[in-house]
Amino acid sequence: MIKALLKKQFLELFSVFFRGKNGKRVAGGKAALYIFLYAMLILMVVGYSTMFALGLGATYFANPDTAWAYFGMGAIAAVTIAIVGSVFMTYNSLYLAKDNEFLLSLPIQSWKLLFVRLFGVWFAGFAWESLVLLPFFVIFYIMAPGLVTALGVVFQILLWIGLSFVILFMTAILGWLIAKAATHMGRYKTLIIVVLFLAGFVGYMVLISQLEGGIVALFEDPEAVTQGLGGFMPAYAFGKACLGSPLYGIIFFIISVALFALVYWVLTITFNKILMSNNKGKAITSNKRQDKQKSVNGTLIKREFKHYFSNAMYILNSSLGYIFLPIVGILAIVNRDAVQVALTNFAQETAAGDGSNPADILMMLKALTPIAVFFAVGFLGGTSVITAPSVSLEGKRISILQAFPIHMKQVLWSKIEFHCIIAMTFTIPSVILIGIGLSLGIVDIIVLVLLSAVMIFFFGVFGLACNLKYPMLNWTNENVALKQSMSVLFCMLVGILAPIVFTLLYFFVFINFLMPSIYLLVVAVLFGLVSWLILRWLNTQGAKKFQYLS
């Protein structure tokens, strides 16, 4: 029985690799592309984790007394990534599963159902955790073989599993909070879920900043960081255990198992209630009557707005980068003087190292700042493409639009326009704030604003074209289209790679030929040109494809 249920659960989880939009078997090439894209994503997380571990290792392994902080930081990073990556899956699996009613009608004991559901959630958290934590272990063995003990290895394996129980505990609590918000908050549920998520994320950032006093301090003053982190018992216990402390290892493992038992016990008591309640809560109502006739374009954009603001996952999954951009902008303004001081210090240290003139280095740093801003803004914006899932999200309702007496390029255009409205509202003011905060010249700021606008447009049309190429209309839950769609994955990869490639290209090829602002203008023209070509395709073949998608 449990085997059959687990098989069903994993088929759902991995269906994207095997079943296409019509439920038919995915062709070998397409499945391979999916696997490749996921492998790239995994490699990227592992890559970032490895870089982080290398940096921390260089700081902490020199002194065996502070080496525990290496694992402490690794555990915090793993828990964060795992929670961000799996909290909505927890919410969906436990509280929104569409087959709850069907399974409840079968002769299956509820504890078995709960076990299977929790197993899926645990597995997702464990997978995310492993992507971060395993590179930490490997780097540890390579960089600090002298600190490796047999007991340490045993506890690393034990706590690797134990930490996944902590993650399960935390995602279950967050999932429950989201479910409560969804049930009781009516029309404000999307807002509340987004705020809850952001509050959790910001809370984590505050925690990290308090522990380490900023990433600069992390590498400049490891002692202070170690002391700060020492006040955070779980991280301290985890770190000590990974170095072979049996006391902390046993305490951590017992507590993590106890947390798992607590989650299982609470859910066992409440699971039937959860299954039998529809969890829809109070229906949202609005008596507001429209008093003016809208244009077709206006009504299509309004529809996009309604859809976007109805689903917290849509907002968070496709525009988290935009939400963080204003924070970066405000931080740049608030820390304006500190940034200048940091740049000056960096220039002086570099000059002291190679005997060059600090003023020259500072001037070069300032000249290169627009490229750095392009990289940061491009990275945050490029990973947030609202159009990438927008065709898939039409689902079976796509026939409503197809049957209307309108040209489908109007529908596609409304999606691009909506993406640009949201993205530019967040990005353009943020870029200006960042520019002012970093004391950039007016020309540099204008170039960056122009480039940002062009890139936003590019990702809007690119995301839409990708989704038309790889639509997923046969979902049972919108979150499947948001999370498991190939177009979203592909856009995210391009969004990550584009700023990296163009930044590296400047530093390795064009740095001696072109001023940063001229280079960025060239990049803007390039993106503009490609956008125009994609738009032409969307207006002709793309619109035709949309008309007959099913």
């Binding site: 829809k280 229906a283 949202i284 109502t285 609005s286 008596n287 507001k288 009557r289 429209q290 008093d291 003016k292 006739q293 809208k294 244009s295 077709v296 206006g298 009504t299 299509l300 309004k302 529809r303 309604k306 859809h307 109805s310 689903n311 689902g395 079976k396 309702r397 026939s399 409503i400 197809q402 049957a403 209307f404 007496p405 309108i406 040209h407 008309q547 007959y548 099913s550």
Partner: protein, 236 residues
């Protein structure tokens, strides 16, 4: 009003619709019956302009669906078999959305919404979000949205599924009203009693081919439509 000439649609090797021709005149309620997978939905979707077809021609009120689909769509409304509506809108917002697309004035839409929503006893539910609606309520909303721009031709795929008897009766009256005003109705159904009582003409389709069509008398003679249908299907 609706002319389907030699319509052919294939999915890979399979002919879903094979050289089908149907002519629906203004004022006619035309029923379309056939077993599951016979090609009814494919035909309706092709007529609604949401499915490309391989051969043939479809014209609505003299306008070719291939040449000017937008002009065709302005004259018609289509209700699919399972009304998947925008869950994130309220019923009222959905109707306003459809009315805006068709350019229906505020006064006209208010009047239509009031007329049909009160008849379907849906008026008090219109401010609620569609995700809270039952299947029947969604079907009623889809029907109101189809009627909101006074189309000349309404095509419906299994429109009576999910409707309570009162709503079903009301829908039949609305269908007749459209036809009395010079419009036409083309709908598929498995409920043969409804087809028999309601339709002026009927077409029976089997494996994509039209096997009988005409007025109800021409098709069934003195037998019941059910007997004729089962006989033609080879089940009797």
């Amino acid at each position: 009003m609706l002319n389907i000439e030699n319509l052919t649609k294939t999915y890979g090797e399979k002919k879903a619709v094979d050289n089908l021709s149907i002519h629906i005149a203004p004022g006619e309620i035309y029923g379309f019956i056939g077993h599951n997978g016979a090609g009814k939905t494919t035909t309706l979707k092709a007529c609604a302009g949401i499915l490309q077809f391989d051969k043939g021609e479809i014209t609505i009120d003299g306008v070719s669906m291939k040449k000017d689909p937008i002009a065709c769509k302005k004259k018609m409304a289509y209700i699919p078999d399972n009304p998947e509506l925008y869950d994130y809108m309220t019923g009222l917002q959905y109707l306003d959305f459809v009315a805006d697309i068709y350019g229906v004035s505020i006064e006209e839409r208010k009047e239509k919404i009031h007329k049909y929503a009160s008849a379907f006893e849906l008026e008090k539910d219109l401010p609620a979000v569609i995700s809270s609606y039952s299947h029947g309520m969604k079907q009623k909303l889809a029907i109101i949205s189809a009627w909101i721009h006074s189309p000349k031709l309404i095509m419906m795929d299994e429109p009576f599924v999910g409707l309570d008897p009162k709503a079903a009766k009301l829908l039949k009256d609305m269908m007749r009203e459209i036809c009395d005003e010079g419009g036409a109705i083309f709908f598929s159904t498995h409920v043969l009693e409804v087809a028999e009582k309601l339709c002026d003409k009927v077409a029976i389709i089997k494996k994509g081919q039209l096997i009988r069509s005409g007025t109800m008398e021409e098709v069934k003679g003195d037998d019941s439509l059910e007997d004729v249908f089962l006989e033609l299907e080879g089940d009797k």
